[in-house]
Structures are given as structure tokens and as C-alpha cells.
């Protein structure tokens, strides 16, 4: 009876918050929707802000459009012009020295408007150092330039299962003079590629064989990313990244296999399926120095199926990236595929749901996410410690709720690392939070946990936490991929 009463009180409490004052994403990040003219099919695969201040958008239909006023408010008087057409599923754009580089299915191509009529008329093959068979799944996603001027290309497997042609399932770097630098094997079905604040490159891979769930992975040169399908091409690399690694054992666990296969780089962050998303895609990093809000240097990852942008805060433990993902913003017009962060603090989100359904119901979309200047109450970062986690927050926490272990609930699980498609969550545990200590400045909490599980996702819910002005967290959930336990 007492329990029932408590529950009733709790319900009253929750519902009183829900009425009127529940924080909403749009209070902090506005989603500016571009009206798209009828003659434009904008299945946006790649985005680049040009030196001219215009926005270039490449599409799955092979067009490249230029938007003249990408920052217009409201974006009603905006013109879309076609810069190029007839290319093959362009999933990457980058500008350099007057050339617009694009990664299309079969090559990295650069193009230029020589006669200055607003349309490209010279197209040069920069590199076609990989092969295609005619299978639609053989996508190629291209990055922008790294500090050495390379474009990084991640190549989906044939049918997303096997590697029927050279370098399917690989990451290649294409040097400024068009040379192919084999960089990583083990890729399955990428959805996007992008660098973090210090220039390390990441890509997203999707749930399927050897991928228990969608994840963000670090393309450490020379590493093996987990799917052995493409490993047959090691012999073509001329030893560029060493000998072919040992094949992983199916039905094992990722962190069991990393001990046997030194080249195997575990995913830096899983996006638990389908709690966070079902189809991880484009990547952007907040390098605006605060213009996009409090998440400086963090990564943002699109999810095509959920039409969302997720947030990822990574740290390096024992030389490997790992960290937590958080929900960030939902409601993109179509399936969120490409992301671009611009210096002024805008994040452009390109969408498509052709062939793969999405919550956003439009066939294609272009949205711009803008920070309203109001700081949401969020977990800022989550750091693994030997015996728990340290959480930092964007605002001061209410020490009564934050110091109460009952304000949190923690569970852990991992995935079967296997040749079969995907994996359920397995090996679940329910660790105890023995202590929650609030820092004197109220901006962080140290959780002591009995005990952390190496190799598991740690799913933390913080429903009971309040800020000093009694607000709940905008997103009271975090998913930390604990591959390595700090010393």
C-alpha cells in the first residue's frame, strides 16, 4: 500500500512537470526547414559550404545543386541552381583551389566551371582506384580534405555482405595527386565519414554481419574495422598496412577478439538498436568554438531511419577512442543522411528516404539546425573511471537529486560479434551505483559503480536528476561503450 502511494505521488510529480514547463529540443536548437522547389530532387548525399558563401549539395540522383543564400532567415527567397548533373550517387563533396571534388560511386572526380556560366564543364578523374560490380549497395562515401590534402573514401561491401571487387570493404585515402593509400579494411556498410576536432577520421557502420548494432568507428590507419569480407585485398596493397590480420571467430565478443587480433579496432561508440537509431549516417564535429552551443569539439551523427541527429562525446582510453552517445535533436524532414557544420555555428542536415524508410516523411529535405543561445540542461560528457563514471553537465545540478544514487539507473550489455546479421543485446548486467558525489562547483558528478563491465555498453538513465532550477535533463539517457577500463 505504501508502495502504491509512493508511486502515485511520483506520478503526480512527473505529470506536474510535464504540464507547461517540460523542456523541448526546439527551445534550444531550432530546425530551419528549406522549402525545395518542385524541379529539384534533393536527395542530399554530400554538403559543402563554398568559398563564395554558397552551399553545394550533391544528390543520390547524381546532381550537384548550389543554394545561393544558405543562411537566409526565413529561407524562403533562396535559389537552387544546378551546377552539375549526370554523376553517379554522389556521397561526398569538398572544395579546394577552385575545384569542387566529389566522391561518386566509381571515382573521386573534381570539376570546375571554366567558362564561368555557373555550371561545371570540366570533369577530371582524380582516382578510380577501386572497382564496382553493378550492385547498388556498393556505395562510396567521401570525406573533405585532411591536413595532408587527402580525401578519405569508405567503400561499402558488395550487397553489403561480401567483397566481390577490389577494395570493397575498405577505407582508402586519395592523395592530392590521385594516389591510392589503402588505409583500413573491415568496413561493412558505411553511412557517413568525418573527422573529429584533432583531425582523426571516423565513419559510421551499420547493423549487420560482424556489426551487432550501428556504431561510430575510428579509421585508425592500418586498423581492421571488424568485417573480414574485404580482407582478401590485403595482398593487393603491397604491404601498405601490413599483413592480412587473422580472421575473427564468429559468435564471439568484440573485446575477446581484439585480444587475439591486434589490428582489430573496436567501435568507439555503439548506437544501441533501436533505442538510439537504426541507420547511422553522416558525421559532423562542432569546431565552431561555442557558436553551436556548449558541445565544443564533440561529434554529431545523423540517423537516417529515425530522422535524428545524435551527439557523441569521446575520450581516449589506453590509446583508443571510446565514449558515450546521447539523443540530441529529432524531427528532420526526411531520413537524415549528410551533415555539415559551418563556422558560423549552423549544422546543415541533408535527408533522403528513398529505398530505406524514415520517420521524417518527406522524400528529401534540407534543414539547418541553429542554436538559440539558450543552454539546454544536458549531460555534457561522460568519462570512464576505474570504478565508475564522471559525468559533467552543461548546468549546475541540484545536489540533492544528483547525489542520490536512486536518481540513476544503470544496465550493461554487449553484442555477439558474429557473421550472422546483427545481434540482440547479450550478457546483460545490472551494476549497483554505490555512491554519487557532486563536485563543489555543481558541474559534475562522480559515480562509483559496483562494477563496470569491460566490453559492454553502459546504458545510464538519469531520470531523477534536476538542475538547480529544478529542471530535468533535456535527454536523460546516455550510452557509454566501455571497450577499455582506465587504469
Amino acid at each position: 500500500m505504501i508502495r502504491a502511494t509512493l508511486l502515485f505521488v511520483a506520478l503526480l510529480f512527473v505529470s506536474s512537470i510535464a504540464v507547461g514547463q517540460a523542456p523541448k529540443e526546439e527551445d534550444y536548437y531550432k530546425l530551419v526547414e528549406f522549402p525545395i522547389p518542385e524541379y529539384v530532387n534533393l536527395e542530399a548525399g554530400g554538403l559543402e559550404l563554398l568559398k563564395s558563401g554558397k552551399l553545394a549539395i550533391s544528390t543520390r540522383r547524381g546532381d550537384i545543386f548550389v543554394v545561393d543564400k544558405p543562411f537566409a532567415v526565413p529561407p524562403t527567397d533562396v535559389e537552387f541552381t544546378k551546377f552539375a548533373g549526370g554523376l553517379h550517387e554522389v556521397l561526398g563533396l569538398a572544395e579546394k583551389d577552385g575545384w569542387l571534388y566529389c566522391t561518386q560511386r566509381c571515382e573521386v572526380t573534381r570539376m570546375k566551371d571554366v567558362d564561368n556560366d555557373g555550371r561545371a564543364d570540366l570533369f577530371e578523374n582524380v582516382s578510380d582506384g577501386w572497382e564496382i560490380t553493378g550492385d547498388y549497395h556498393e556505395y562510396a562515401f567521401g570525406s573533405s580534405f585532411d591536413k595532408d590534402g587527402n580525401i578519405w573514401v569508405v567503400l561499402c561491401l558488395t550487397g553489403s555482405f561480401t567483397s566481390e571487387q577490389k577494395y570493397r570493404g575498405w577505407c582508402l585515402r586519395i592523395s592530392p595527386d590521385g594516389k591510392v593509400i589503402p588505409t583500413c579494411s573491415g568496413i561493412r556498410s558505411p553511412g557517413g565519414i568525418g573527422a573529429n576536432a584533432v583531425g582523426d577520421m571516423f565513419y559510421t557502420d551499420n547493423q549487420g554481419p560482424w556489426n551487432g548494432a550501428c556504431s561510430l568507428k575510428w579509421l585508425k590507419p592500418g586498423s581492421f574495422q571488424g568485417h573480414p569480407g574485404g580482407n582478401r585485398w590485403y595482398e593487393m596493397t603491397g604491404g601498405a598496412i601490413g599483413a592480412r590480420p587473422k580472421d575473427p571467430l564468429s559468435k564471439s565478443r568484440m573485446m575477446v577478439e581484439t585480444k587475439k587480433i591486434p589490428e582489430l579496432e573496436p567501435p568507439a561508440c555503439y548506437f544501441p538498436y533501436p533505442k538510439m537509431g537504426q541507420s547511422a549516417a553522416g558525421i559532423a564535429c562542432d569546431t565552431t568554438g561555442g557558436k553551436f552551443g556548449p558541445f565544443k569539439d564533440q561529434l554529431f551523427v545523423a540517423d537516417q531511419a529515425h530522422s535524428t541527429v545524435m551527439r557523441v562525446a569521446l575520450e581516449k582510453v589506453k590509446g583508443h577512442y571510446q565514449g558515450a552517445c546521447f539523443p540530441f535533436r529529432q524531427g528532420c524532414g526526411s531520413g537524415a543522411l549528410s551533415l555539415l557544420m559551418t563556422k558560423d555555428g549552423s549544422m546543415f542536415v541533408g535527408g533522403t528516404n528513398r529505398g530505406w524508410g524514415s520517420r521524417g516523411s518527406k522524400p528529401y529535405s534540407l534543414d539547418r539546425l541553429v542554436w538559440t543561445g539558450k543552454t539546454p540542461f544536458e549531460v555534457h560528457e561522460m568519462h570512464a573511471k576505474k570504478d565508475g563514471f564522471e559525468l559533467t553537465f552543461t548546468q549546475k545540478v541540484d545536489s540533492a537529486t544528483a547525489a542520490d544514487p536512486k536518481s540513476y539507473s544503470l544496465s550493461t550489455y554487449t553484442y555477439i560479434y558474429q557473421a550472422d546479421y546483427g545481434s540482440p543485446e547479450v550478457d546483460a548486467t545490472k551494476p549497483t551505483i554505490t555512491k554519487a558525489e557532486v563536485a563543489p562547483d555543481g558541474m559534475s558528478v562522480r559515480l562509483t559503480i559496483d562494477k563496470l563491465q569491460e566490453g559492454h555498453v553502459h546504458e545510464l538513465h538519469l531520470d531523477g536528476i534536476r538542475s538547480t532550477d529544478k529542471q530535468p535533463l533535456l535527454h536523460p539517457a546516455a550510452y557509454y561503450t566501455l571497450n577499455y577500463l582506465p587504469e
Binding site: 530532387n41 543520390r60 540522383r61 547524381g62 548533373g85 549526370g86 554523376l87 553517379h88 550517387e89 561518386q104 560511386r105 566509381c106 571515382e107 572526380t109 571554366v114 561545371a120 564543364d121 570540366l122 570533369f123 577530371e124 578523374n125 578510380d128 564496382i132 560490380t133 553493378g134 550492385d135 547498388y136 549497395h137 550487397g159 553489403s160 555482405f161 549487420g208 533501436p274 537504426q278 531511419a305 529515425h306 530522422s307 524531427g331 528516404n353 528513398r354 529505398g355 530505406w356 524508410g357 524514415s358 520517420r359 521524417g360 516523411s361 518527406k362 522524400p363 550472422d420 546479421y421 546483427g422 540482440p424
Partner: protein
Amino acid sequence: MPAKFLLACLVLVIAGPATLQAADAHPRVIGFERFHSGEKGDAVVGGQLLLGELNCTSCHAADKSLDSYIQKKQAPVLDSVGSRVRSNYLLKFLADPQVTKPGTTMPNVLAGLPEAERKEKAEAIVHFLATTGTIAESAALRQSVNRGDNLYHHIGCLACHDPRKEDSPKDPLPTSIPIGTPSRKFTVPGLTQFLADPLAVRPGGRMPHLNLEPQDARDIASFLLKDLDISSGLQFALYEGSWDKLPDFSKLTPKEVGEAGGFDVGVTKKTDNFALRFDGHINIPKGGNYLFLIGSDDGSRLFIDGKLVIDNDGVHPFQQKRKQMQITAGLHAVAVEYFEAGGQETLQVEYQAEGQPQQKLETLIAAPPSKKPDKPEEGAFVVSNDLAAKGKEYFTTLGCASCHNLKKDGQQLVSKLTAPAIAQLKGNGGCLAESPAKTPFYALNAKQKQSITAAIAGINGPPRKPQVGRLASEELISQNLVRFNCVACHTRGELGGVEEARNPHFKSDMPEMGDEGRLPPPLAGVGAKLRPEWMQTVFNEGAKDRPYMFTRMPKFGTANVGSLVTALDEVDKGSLKPIPRLDVVDENDKKFKAAGRRLVGGQAFGCIKCHTFADKKSTGIQALSLTTMTKRLRPEWFHHYMQNPLAFRPGTRMPNVFPDGQTTLPKILDGSVDKQDRSMWAYLSDGDKAILPVGLVTGAIELIAYDEAIMYRNFIEGAGPRAIGVGYPEKLNLAFDANNLRLAMIWQGAFIDAARHWEGRGAGFQPPLGDNVIKLTDGVSFAALENDKAPWPGATAKEQGYRFGGYSLGEKRSPTFTYSLGDIKITDYPAPYGDADVYVFRRTLSLASEKPVPNFYFRAAAAGKIEELGGGSYKIDGQWTMKIGSNQKPLVRENSGKQELLVPVVFEGKGARITQEFEW
């Protein structure tokens, strides 16, 4: 299986075959092996299972109250056993069932008799059984064997049987029903008849009905009996000579004769100047109106029963002719004649029965009856009437008739044997004795005996089991799922599921769907999910609703599994809350349904991106048809499932339609989740009659060049995966192959339809949309040859050192392609040339090289026939004209069976130039 028992087996194997039989031959009941043979199973439940599966209650009458505990597996109906099973096999089988067919549940009823008497009685019974029909023989078809192999290994046979591949494990799984060598028992027609309707012979439903088409049944029978004679049923004869129409084959002597797998020119490696005649029989399953089609390059004719049906004679490119005709069921002689002069060679012979898809005619080929009447080493079996009369007597006195139904001359034979009722049994001795004197011998193992003893004790007490009466529903469900081996494919909660060793055999053609696409659905909560009338339909008719899954749900018969319908309803239904009442609406309101249609469509929830709709394919993966949903599912289940699919189906890829209980489409039906859900249901309730949702079927997306050239880089049929299609305003089009750096195709009129690549995921190659497509020479265009006799290199362009440079767009945005071979830079500018009415393609090739290149050639064409017309013009294959402009004289040469037009490339200074005009 406990390790101790395995060890015992091992010892027995070493000890020799005599003892092995006794140990290994225990009756194989899958459910018992899987759930009761170890330490864990409940002995009483296991024993009850055996009492049913071993048919104990056919002799030992059971009280009505035991019905739900002991469901008897009826023995095979023997009405026409003589037409299905070889008598020589029955002789051996009856003499010692367990030795002849290890694992059989058939007891040895003669076990207690002295050997001479046993032999006499068995023989008499077999003579009697042989009077029930005459065995038919026919050879297994070679083509059928392969198809049957595929069916056997994919449609679900492996749920209960072992794989039969070369590399399959030799040791059968303990939970498999062994098949052994079925050719000892069956002929092709006999096994075909059984597989086509197993329930007719084995009404108990343990071997369910797989809804095999007659041809499928024959294919699987042919595969299982492939150690018998195999014939292709089709002979070919090859003739060599040069003709311009079909020759009179009766006056020719064949160069080669043999068996053909089908009407296929592949029987010979010759590509020019030959003729073929095929002879065989087709079996028309059902008489009626048939369409026959024969297509060939060059001429062909089709004869049925000696009469000319279609004449497609003469030298021509691929050309198809057809003829509709009435044809009776049964065997018909068929002959196809074909000849090839030069160029391409193709032959296609097809048919279409009314309402059926078009198929290759070879699928109807029937094998001639085998010449050998029975197993050759055994000779024919001749029935003795005297013995048969005695056998009939034994059939009723020895107890055969207790288990087997056999109707002879309209009269059901009745057993004269009596045995004590179950209630009188003590649970030892009799059939359970070590070597029974008067009772049947089952070769039970110790565990089986213990279980049966426990079950009888459970029934007969003391203390009598309190719950005798009706079995509780959940127990009834689980016992039936085990009894009928539903658990080989399905789970229900913790119970059952595909065994690890069988798991790899479950496959789908949609690997991206993961386990959900290949493993039959879990049955937890199925009574809340499916409408009872649908379950009834599934049990009565079987089902194949998941197009991607290779296994099918077989038909078990409601007589056998009907009790599951009520039990599942009773147990599961309560788990669902009712649907909230809607204050609106007439669910049949047109606007309400229209909203549902909109929601299902491509620009709302996009259900059609994954789900098929009636016979229309989805644009993504091909999940279950939307139009069968309301027929199969309960509306309550649909309502709750849409809001949390994972709660019902862990691991499903079905997304949550209403995340967090909210709709993403607030503008439709006031943004009410309940209304949106109901409107989709109302719309889908129209089933196949529902108007197609938006975005499912899209028309062509024709790309048109108006006043400038347009480009289309994609998978283009005939130009490879890295094709660059160009459409010109002059209504000429080309496809450049950027992999092999060649002009691959030219055509006139419409450019291309982009719908294949721009709707859905974009799978496959798209051919040109226009007319008069000319496919140009495969392989690279330039090469240095040692001399003008050297063969043209076959390696890919990259392997030969070519590199694609790109293209620039010039006047009216027509492209100039650039590529290089080593130091040689090549620009390739094809463009329409002419005036307002008549355009041809003119291609200008400009080469530049710092160094001279000796023996360098441009291959302008490779074709069956190249004729020089003068003035630099050449007729290609008698069909179109190519004109070469060069400072060198082109040469025509023979190379690997083709003619080639080579243009020597001689650099004047650092450059060379060739023009090529295509007129067609």
C-alpha cells in the same frame, strides 16, 4: 544425449553390427529425443508422448479422458501400398523392421515367432499387400534431380531430416528422422505420389503436407532417388554444315548425339554453321489452352506429336514466334529443330499455361519409363493368390489391422487381435519386456521404457494423477508443439526453436533482414496475434506469406492440430488490452480510409518502402504483404504492435510507427495516434481491392535532351557498371564504358528511363529506352600489336595501363572524353553530325604522344561479317555502315572466329587523328 549413452554407442559400434542394431534401432521420436532423452525431461510427459507416437492405444484402448494426453499417430493407410512401395522392400521390412529401417516406429510383430514361421507369415502379408496396386516405374529426370536438391535443402525438409549433400555430416542428428536409401523402398512415381499428399497416406500429420506442386514433388522424389536410373528425357543430335534454312534432318548423319538438359545451344561448343535436333516427351499436367513460344537466332521449328506447330525458319537475328493451341493432359512427343549460320546463336523454347507465368518448356519434360522393372538384383515380384489370401488373414489376426487402415474391395479390414486396455496395464512386461514372446517388439531403449512405465503409472496410479481430465491449455500447446515438431522451426517462449546444427539450413533471399528474414516467426503470444480463423486456415492449407523466407509453413490438418486454435486463443488473448474506442467514426468512411491510404504511402509512414502490397513489390526489402495483414492479424494486436514492435518481436527491424506514443504526422486526422492507426487498418481491410498507396508504383522517368546534351552515369545494360550515357538533342544517344574506355552502344530515339535507379534502392542494369540499339565491340579500342596477325588483347583497360581522364563539356554540353594509355593521350569526341532530318554519329579520335608508337592499332569493329563498300565505308553484319577517316588504310582480318576492322595508327609528328561515322 548423455555422454554415457554416447559412450555406450561407441562401444557397441566397436563390438560389431549385431549388437549395434539392438541399441541404435530404438524408435526415433523427435520430440522424445530432443526433450526427454536426457536427464531433464518429465518422464511422465515423455511417456505420454511415446504412447501416442508408438500408437499404443490402437491396441490398448484408452479412456476418453486421456485424449488430450495421448494423441495417437495413426499408422500409414495401406489402401494402395502396392502401388507406392516395392514388394521386395516390404519383404525385408516385415521380416525385421528395425534392421531394415533403423529408427522406425513400426514394431516387429513377428519377433516372437520361430524364424521359418516368421518368414512364411511376412511373405504372405507382402503378397496380400501387393494386391492393393501395381508399382509404376519411371526414371528420375536429370533436371529434376537438381531442382529437387534445391527444394529439399531449402523449403523446410531439413527441419526434421538431415541434409543430403556430398559434404553433409555423415552422422545423422539424433533429432532427425533418418531417410536412409529411399530407392530400396520407392519408385519415382510412388514417392512422388506420397510427397504430393503425405496426409493421404499418413493422416496423423507428423509428416506434414508441404503444398508441393506436382512438379516439385517429382523433383524432390527424383533427387531422393537419384541412385536409380537417371535420364534427361531429352536427346539431341548435332549436325555440321552451312545452311540458310533448316535442312532435312532425315537425310543427314549427326556428328554427335547425346542427352540434353534442355533446349539449349550450349550442348555444343560450336558457334557457327551447325544444326541441332532435340527429341523427347513432355508431360502436360492439365489439359487446356497452352501458348508455345520459340525464339532463335537463326532459324528453328517446334513439333508436337509429329506435327509442325511453329515455323521460325530462316537466317535472322533473335526472333520469337508463338502459337496458342489446345492440348490434352499426358505425354506428348516433342521435337525442336534449329540451325545457326553465323554471328550470335540463341534458342529459347517456352510455354505458358493459362493463368501461369511463362516457363521454359524443358520443365515439362518427362522421363521415359525405366527399362528395369524393379531393383535389378532382385527380379520382379510375382503375386501368388494363395499366399495373398493367407496374408489377408494374417493381416487381421496378427494385429496389422489394429494400427493400419486398409480397405479391400470396399471393406475395411478389422483386427481380430485384442489387448488389455491401458487402464489394466502394469507398466512392465508385454511390449516392454526385454524379448517379448507374444507381443510386438519395439526395440525401445531404457529411457523410453522408463518413460512409458512412468506414464502408465501416472495414469493408473496409485495415487492416480489428480489432473487426469482435460489438459491445461498451455500444457496442451507445448505438448502439441513438441508432438508435431513445430518447435523445429518455432519458439514459444523458452520452448524449442531452430537447433544450432540446423540453423544454417534456414535461408532467405533477403539476407539484409537477418534472422527475421530466414527463421520462422516466434509463437509467443501468437494466439493474441493471429485471428483464430486465420490459424484454422494455416493449419488446413499451410501458408507462404513471407516471400523472402525459403521455408514454408506446411499443412498439418485441423484434425491433428485443431485443438491448438482454441488453446492458443484461450491462453494468449488475455495479454492484449482492447483498442481504445474512437468517438468518431464510421471506419468505412471514404475519407477515413483515404487518410489510411495516405499514411501507408511513400510520403507518410512509408510502410511500402519495406512491405509488399498485393502483387506489387516494395521499393526496399520485400517484407510481408500489407494486404494480408487484416486477414491474418487481430486488430488489437496490430494496434499495439504499431506502437512498440520490439515488445512483440525482439530484434525486429520494423520501426516504431509512433515513437514515444506520438505521431510524426500531426496534420493527419488531428494527429491522433488511435485514429491514424485505425484508419490504416480500415484502409488495409480492403485487402487486394485496396487502391494502391501513393509512391508504390511509379511511372517511367524518361530523361530527355531538349536543347543540350544530358548525361547519365549509372549501371547501363550493355555498357557496364561504370557507364556514361549521353543523350543528344538530335535524338541520338550513346553509352561510353568508362571501365574499358570504349564506345559501348549507340541508339536512336528516346534516351533512357531512370526510374529503375531513381526509385527504390536502384538495383540492376537499365537498358536504353530508344530504338535500333547497336552494341559495339567489347574490349579496349587501342592496342599495340606485335604484328597484324597477333590477337587483340583481352585484359581490362586498367590492366593494360589505360587511365580514364574525364570529360569536358563543349558546345551544347556535348562531352569530349579523355583517356590515356601510357604516354599516349587520347581525346574521344562523338557527336551527332548531319542536318535537320538525318543525323549520324561522327566520332573524332585525336591521339598525342611525345614518342612514336610502333604497330599501334585502333579496332574500329569486331563482328560476324565485315564487308568493304569502298570510300572508307564498311557494312557491319549486313546491318549498318561504318565509315573510317584515316591517313592509313584499314584492314579486315579474322581473329578468334570473328572479323575485325583494324585501323593502323601512324603519328604524323606528335599526333594522329581518326574519324568514325556510324550510320544505321
